[in-house]
Symmetry: C2
Subunit: 95 residues, 2 copies
């Protein structure tokens, strides 16, 4: 029972929160993720970008009521990575 590698991208509290939230919904707005994670805007912005660059989430930038609106949606790749992560870390948890 060797330890499996933990995807460094997901092994981060905020990014894991984001993915965890996105798993449960069709898509989520920046503000929604901000409220749920209680992160700072800057940190949230950075971590969303990393997840986007990895292909784990799709980010759509539009406008609503004249204000910018950022919407995030987990990709198939993201779902897959999350499932692998859950499987891997489970190996660390059950003694």
């Amino acid at each position: 029972m060797a330890f499996k590698d933990l995807d460094p991208l997901l092994h981060n509290q905020l990014r894991l929160s984001i993915i965890s939230l996105l798993i449960g919904v069709e898509s989520a707005e920046f503000k929604y993720l901000l409220d749920k994670t209680e992160a700072t805007r800057g940190n949230l912005s950075v971590q969303i970008t990393k997840l986007k660059d990895a292909g784990y989430v799709d980010v759509k930038k539009t406008f609503r009521n004249n204000y910018p609106l950022t919407t995030c949606k987990i990709t198939a790749k993201g779902v897959d990575a999350f499932e692998k992560y859950v499987d891997a870390i489970s190996g660390y948890l059950n003694k």
Copy 2:
């Protein structure tokens, strides 16, 4: 269901491996942890020291066959922290 904080000390692959291994045994030698984790000696040494400084493990330094021998044992505080960590991260995993 807010996200609980993940103890930064345990939210690290190698340190979590160490604790995970120590949970299952009475005590473990440096070499044993080295083999099981497949870490470098340097990194293992550093991370054991951090766990010791946090009071999560007791480290005993003796000699065997004239060679230094480092033995690690998880403390009650370490067990407690691990259980809290398992509880916290579980909240991220089940969608």
